[in-house]
């Protein structure tokens, strides 16, 4: 063992595509990468990175905070996020129990008299 290993550690890479690099930051869930896809469309990027970043076909594309269509042409310095679907309950890919089809006719009726009252049992 020689010296403090932290002293020789490489510095962490700063977040965001480096300015002037011509890169676009692509995000999906915990994944983020800076890549030279300026001039390509959102649809191109989705197709190219769908497996690498595990992008759901249902994921909405958001460019610099604004929803973008598949034909949006990306510019250097932009950030495109394919919004990962929100977590549910220990989903297992392909399981028939992942989704239970909704039946709109089973919404429970509103109970009268509950609109302005805050229910609850006081524990203390």
């Amino acid at each position: 063992m020689t010296g403090n290993p932290l002293e020789s550690a490489a510095p962490l890479k700063a977040r965001g595509a480096p300015e002037g690099s011509g890169a676009v930051r692509v995000i999906c869930g915990v994944h983020a990468l800076d890549t030279r896809v300026a001039g390509r469309t959102v649809g191109d990027v989705r197709a190219a990175l769908s497996q690498a970043l595990n992008i759901s076909p249902e994921a909405i594309a958001v460019v610099d905070g604004v929803e973008a269509g598949a034909d949006h042409v990306l510019r250097a310095g932009e950030q495109v996020e394919f919004v990962r679907l929100a977590g549910e309950k220990g989903l297992v890919p392909g399981s028939p129990f992942n989704r239970i089809p909704i039946r709109r006719d089973q919404h429970p009726p509103r109970k009268p008299g509950t609109g302005n009252r805050e229910p609850g049992t006081e524990v203390r």
Partner: protein, 251 residues
């Protein structure tokens, strides 16, 4: 002294991981925080915590959920916490929340921790919060080893961050149903595998978001995490700029 009303909706794997730490923090605060310009407990506010869940504890969930007795989750957990945190006000509501009772359970100014496993309930609560002048909604969910936390902040009738439904079509138009709408047979089939560690990571991220908001330092509207890859990725969710000007909110 004003009271911070906190609602914890869903007392399952995430809720059980979150509640003891939330209650301890609300009871004792942080040893490192001063009064500051924050929004909540650090500024000396009292808090009342209301647990909301219509479900009953089942022994098959014991690997992820800690309950000292059988019975309704909200009631059993609230009683347990009340014994441990004598200075904290606790209440229990043994109901599932849905569009029909959301207005009665979530009030203006509430801080809501939403720890449920279905999008229908998320939509119902988010939609209701959109009608409130002030509210903080922190929603967490997970799959087996990854998850996300969304933070929807309303202040003075304006969105500071985006509602849960924005950019999330699976929540805006859910294909699942809330537990209040499901049969016992359907509920029994909901036993997909879950991992305690992922529940814990999501609960921790929810508490982190609460602390950041309370300190006036919330810099994201959604955070993704993965416990196997040891990654977390916070993403801003500012409301869209109004046409012709109008700066977005602080986040």
């Amino acid at each position: 002294m004003s009271v911070m009303e906190i609602k914890v909706i869903g007392v399952g794997g995430i809720g059980c991981a979150l509640l003891p730490h939330l209650c301890r923090y609300l009871s004792h605060g942080s040893s490192s925080t001063g009064p500051g310009d924050g929004n909540g407990a650090a500024a000396g506010r009292r808090a009342r915590v209301t647990l909301v869940d219509g479900d009953a504890f089942e022994a098959r969930n014991a690997a992820r959920q800690a309950f000292p007795a059988a019975g309704n989750k909200a009631q059993v957990k609230a009683a347990e916490l009340a014994r441990e945190f004598a200075a904290l006000s606790l209440r229990a509501v043994p109901e599932f929340i849905h569009a029909g009772n959301a207005a009665a359970l979530v009030r203006p100014g509430d801080v809501v921790f939403l720890a449920v496993d279905n999008h229908s309930t998320r939509k119902a609560v988010s939609d209701h919060c959109r009608t409130l002048r002030d509210a903080v909604l922190i929603s967490g969910g997970n799959e087996l080893t990854d998850g996300n936390v969304q933070v929807y902040v309303r202040r003075a009738g304006e969105d500071v961050t985006l509602p849960l439904t924005r950019f999330h079509p699976e929540i805006a138009d859910p294909s699942d149903r809330s537990p209040a709408e499901m049969s016992c047979d359907e509920l029994a089939r909901e036993g997909a595998p879950q991992l305690l560690f992922t529940n814990l990571a999501v609960a921790s991220a929810m508490l982190n978001a609460f602390y950041a908001w309370e300190q006036g330092a919330l810099a994201y509207g959604e955070v993704y995490l993965d416990i196997v890859q040891a990654r977390a990725n916070p993403v801003p969710r500012p409301p869209a700029r109004a046409p012709g000007g109008g700066a977005p909110g602080a986040v």
